[in-house]
Amino acid sequence: MAGKMKRLLALGAVVLTTTALAWAGSDAQPKAGGESKRMITKAEQCVEPTDYMRRNHMKVLNHHRDETVIEGIRTKKYSLKECINCHASEETGSVAAAKDDFCVSCHSYAAVKIDCFDCHSTKPQGSVAMHPLNAETAHYKHKLAAQTKSKISAEEMAGVAQ
């Protein structure tokens, strides 16, 4: 039973991703020019390995959140604001405005409701797209420019979803 479910899930994931990639590719290529322009803007180097972050981002975020809110410690590592600064899509300037934006794309796939953005802004201080040299985000610009082409595979997605 479980095996069958898994296979179905994986199949669904493959179909979905293929469609999404085809769509994203056709739409994004012409506008982007030399620089790659993807729906999910992914930094070259996150604060932790991607695999770790996929599974544990809420663990580190929750820990950091308590320190920030209660003790006033506002370090950049693991701060939601920094996640947003780095991962906001260049299209929408947000991590959760469109269905392909960084947070939403995975969360809708895994069917996990995001509670963050009832209260938190989904956009960096002064949108990345609008002000590429914004003082708050300038130090990430080189990372945005050097995005890798690697796509999230269906297997990886399915792994996280479980």
Binding site: V69, I73, T75, H120
Partner: protein
């Protein structure tokens, strides 16, 4: 709105620079003037990995005699800094949050009029913290009373308990209009935070006090009440001040002169 933006954006951005500026000022001040001043400067330039400390108690002195009638600059500055819609622009004025408001008082007998801003008084013994069932309403080590929106369930008991009507419930979805530094959201209670994002950044001042000074009224003075050398402490020693509803003995962080 837009003319306020450059100011908030022009604040030191990188932690390195901020720390450097803070340390440099502290060292310079320490060498040049007195050890007391150095303490003062260090307290303001708290490093970002350092927790808020109970050695500091943030407070505000409101000089009602300097508060101009009809002037709303502190309110506008607060709304701009913290991203809440000014009540005049709200579709639901009775349900619109107001973190700070101008209060006009009059003695019915003598006709004497007083103007002052009313905001969260940042009590040392806050009734809102006492009644909060989940502990979402809390007092930070440096005396700032805040709502942890992650645990606020929107029961509004704190609003029932606050003697200053300082708190508001967010009645409608905010649709991603929040400031990145000031999360706020539907169904949660909120109030003045003494611009905690600015305090943690090392600004050492609130948006309302900055605006009041910019307007030339100088009715608002923000600072560390625990530091005897701070300007607010010096002024509080000289000026007769009162606490609102002093009968409740809540030991307020906001003191009024001229009421």
């Amino acid at each position: 709105m837009s003319d306020m933006k450059p100011r908030s954006d022009s604040t030191p951005a990188s932690p390195e620079r901020r720390r450097f500026v803070g340390a440099a000022t502290a060292t310079a001040a320490g060498l040049a003037i007195a050890p007391g001043v150095m303490l003062y400067e260090v307290a303001h330039g708290r490093a970002e990995e350092q927790a808020a400390s109970s050695a500091v108690r943030w407070g505000m002195l409101v000089d009602a005699t300097k508060c101009a009638s009809g002037c709303n600059d502190c309110v506008s500055a607060c709304s701009t800094e913290n991203g809440w819609t000014p009540v005049a622009e709200s579709k639901h004025p009775k349900q619109a949050p107001q973190w700070i408001r101008k209060l006009e008082l009059q003695d019915p007998l003598t006709q004497m009029e007083t103007n002052l801003p009313m905001l969260c008084q940042h009590c040392a013994e806050p009734p809102c913290v006492d009644v909060c069932p989940t502990g979402a309403s809390f007092k930070r080590a440096d005396g700032i009373v805040l709502v942890n929106r992650h645990t606020c369930i929107g029961c509004r008991y704190c609003m029932m308990a606050c003697p200053y009507k300082a708190r508001s419930l967010v009645h409608e979805p905010l649709n991603d209009t929040q400031k990145p530094d000031v999360p706020r959201g539907i169904g949660c209670v909120e109030a003045c935070t003494f611009c905690v994002q600015k305090v943690d950044r090392g600004d050492g001042n609130t948006a309302c006090a900055e605006a009041c000074t910019a307007a030339g009224h100088n009715a608002l003075l923000f600072g560390d009440m625990n530091d005897p050398e701070s300007e607010i402490s010096r002024r509080l020693r000289e000026l007769p001040t009162k606490q609102v509803r002093a009968d409740l003995n809540l030991n307020l962080g906001v003191r009024y002169h001229g009421i």
